[in-house]
């Protein structure tokens, strides 16, 4: 089975001359999933930046010392485009402004609020994907609208034109614009009313609205501001000014949108942002059945006792660490979200079986991670996950319900496991196999079911032991044979899920993928127990 790519840890170069502070920072960043290099001087920083090609810089600048600011300028002059975050004890606004002018992306005063700094760092490292922005122009003069649309399209925007108030609603639901450009005087009403109408709807609270009008009296501008406009541009307008005004508003709006869609503690997508993106994939799936999308809902086990015992700060650290675990172990194109308190969601571009293996891998590693308590102790935490693959018939609600049911099933059966939804619809023992056996038993006048049950139960401990030992010792041939025989035995009693698990184990061992086979053994053991219990209760 292929393992989905493990993204390399992003490398951060820390420029800090106090070795003790540098050590503390590097420990912290390491725990958060970053690779860290340390430069003790500006000169070393410049040479390491060229040598290591880090993804971000964290620079300490000191009071009355120009070298930190000079370093920023030198790096930017060298064409360095990566995010640079400055940390400093200096709280003078002129120094801060100077740092930003010389190219720093964020300035943090000491003492540092690391949660905020890390959130910023993650945002800078993973900014919202650049996409084509859509602009709606509400303008009744055909010559004007052709002129404006031409400028905007040349600049790479998608543009829709609407010539009257009456068709604004349709245009908006069709285009879903990122920015609206409004004329004040329209044939059937006023652009000011359109602005007021848009602003009363919460879903347009953040969308930039710009007026573009020949009527640029103070009164018009004041009324536009009151109606919720972000700016007022006067016709005729130069293409440069129009584009600059639009670009500035769009960039700020997308930053805002990103803040709204990202969780403060973990920097992951919020539930709303995640669901929006997941819903968009449903259309992709309907167009192309060959695409595979799996939704994973994942919940930290016994989280309340963790916070009760170790405190909320330790609890937050667990969540942040799980977030970075998840982010690191899935592909760039996969989505990771904080779904609720201690619940996370993943959207993997993979079939259900592959997704289950990826998540089982993450669980294994995460469960082995030691978390720190405030008094220097350590503890471990597990999670339970449900995985469901999207089919063409599903809507977003069906998809969520399936993954949630699988998660619940895992919780009910002891937690610390990953359950695939497709294996859940089958009962532990399938009547379609058992019923004919009972009928045969009746016709033959032999207690067949009891016999088969005895054969199954008496062989069970040895089967499990053989599989466990073969997988542990790396004997894939024996493991494959044992899994095969077990699958056949499971089939005979109608243990469908156990049969499916053994089939997966058989495939993995045949491919000599013992690492993943190992993650499956607990599920096989678990399901065997359930089958044994169900068989024991089988009375007719």
């Amino acid at each position: 089975m292929p393992r989905l790519g493990t993204a390399d840890r992003p490398r951060v170069l820390v420029v800090e001359d106090e070795s003790e502070t540098a050590f503390v920072i590097s420990q912290l960043l390491d725990r958060e999933g970053f690779a860290v290099s340390i430069a003790a001087s500006p000169a070393e920083a410049i040479s390491l930046a060229a040598q290591l090609a880090p993804q971000a810089l964290l620079v300490d600048i000191r009071l009355g010392d120009e070298s930190g600011l000079d370093l920023l300028e030198k790096l930017r002059a060298d064409g360095e485009k990566i995010p640079i975050i400055v940390m400093s004890v200096v709280d003078q606004v002129n120094v801060k402004i100077e740092a930003v002018r010389r190219g720093c992306d964020a300035y943090f005063e000491k003492p540092i609020d690391w949660d905020v700094l890390l959130r910023k760092l993650r945002y800078l490292l993973d900014p919202p994907e650049p996409r084509t922005h859509r602009i709606l122009t509400v303008e009744d003069d055909p010559e004007q609208s052709r002129f404006i649309a031409g400028i905007l399209r040349d600049a790479g925007y998608e543009v829709d034109i609407c010539a009257e108030v009456a068709s604004v609603d349709d245009a908006i639901s069709r285009l879903r614009p990122d920015l609206v450009l409004l004329d004040v005087h329209l044939p059937d009403g006023s652009g000011l009313d359109v602005a007021r109408y848009l602003r009363q709807d919460d879903s347009f609270a953040a969308i930039p609205i710009l007026f573009l009008s020949a009527d640029s009296t103070d009164a018009a501008q004041i009324e536009a501001g009151a109606a919720g406009a972000d700016g007022f541009l006067r016709k005729p307008i130069s293409p440069e000014l129009l584009l600059a005004s639009i670009a500035g508003r769009l960039s700020r709006a997308s930053h805002l949108q990103s803040l709204l869609e990202h969780d403060g503690l973990t920097g992951l997508l919020t539930r709303a942002g995640f669901i929006d993106r997941a819903a968009a994939l449903i259309a992709d799936k309907r167009r192309n059945a060959d695409l595979h999308f799996s939704l994973v809902l994942l919940d930290v086990d016994h989280f309340n006792p963790v916070t009760d015992t170790y405190g909320h700060v330790a609890g937050d650290r667990v969540l942040a660490s799980l977030a970075s675990f998840l982010r690191r172990n899935v592909r760039e194109s996969d989505l990771v979200a904080r779904y609720g308190g201690e619940e996370f969601a993943l959207l993997l571009h993979a079939p259900e079986s592959a997704a289950r293996i990826v998540v089982a891998d993450i669980l294994r590693e995460f469960a082995a991670t030691q978390h720190q308590t405030d008094d220097g102790g350590t503890f471990t935490v597990t999670f339970t996950a449900g995985v469901a693959e999207l089919t063409r018939e599903m809507g977003i609600e069906d998809w969520k319900i399936l993954a949630d049911r699988a998660l619940y099933e895992g919780k009910r059966h002891g937690r610390n496991q990953v359950i695939a939804a497709s294996t859940m619809d089958e009962a532990i023992l399938d009547g379609r196999v058992l019923d004919p056996l009972f009928e045969l038993e009746r016709r033959a006048g032999v207690p067949l079911v009891a016999e088969i049950r005895e054969i199954f139960l008496s062989a069970l401990p040895a089967r499990i032991e053989t599989i466990r030992r073969a997988v542990e010792s790396g004997d894939s041939r024996t493991a494959e044979q044992a899994a095969h025989a077990f699958r056949s035995a499971a089939g005979n009693v109608g243990a469908v899920r156990l049969g499916a698990l053994c089939a997966e184990l058989e495939l993995l061992t045949r491919a000599r993928d013992l690492e993943h086979a190992r993650t499956l053994v607990p599920a096989v053991v678990d399901e065997s127990r359930r089958v044994a219990a169900a068989l024991a209760h089988l009375v007719r």
Binding site: E439, A444, E451, Q481, H484
Partner: protein, 130 residues
């Protein structure tokens, strides 16, 4: 009609035998390994052989080869029985000279009909059979 079942798994033999005897009206002989199967095939000359693919020591394909090497058993139709049957695996097994493939687990009641369907699929009947 006499059927020889060669399968190392007791539960499979038990279900198949009861089904073939009580539902299908066949006579059945059981062997729990390839070696025993060869011996019983020579001794009883069954009308058909059900042969498990994966068995320890002498597996299904090896047993089939041995049956084909012996003039006494050469012409007995052999059906492979397997829990694993992807199209390419079916093709591989059929290329070894098996008359057909039956997949496990068996449906306890319709198994005899499945078997008959495969055996009747290719007339004329093999000479020398009663």
């Amino acid at each position: 009609m006499k059927i020889l079942i060669i399968d190392d798994e007791e539960d499979v033999r038990r279900i198949a035998t009861l089904s073939l005897v009580h539902v299908g009206g066949f006579a059945v002989i059981e062997a729990c390994s390839g070696e025993e199967g060869l011996r019983l095939a020579r001794e009883h000359r069954p009308d058909a052989i059900l042969l498990d693919v994966m068995m320890p020591v002498m597996d299904g394909p090896a047993t089939l080869a041995a049956l084909r090497d012996d003039p006494l058993t050469r012409d007995i139709p052999v059906l492979f029985v397997t829990a694993r049957a992807t199209p390419s695996e079916v093709e591989d097994l059929e290329s070894l000279g098996a008359k057909g493939i039956l997949t496990k687990p068996f449906h306890a009641l319709s198994f005899p009909d499945q078997l008959k369907a495969v055996l009747d699929a290719e007339p004329p009947p093999i000479p020398g059979l009663d």
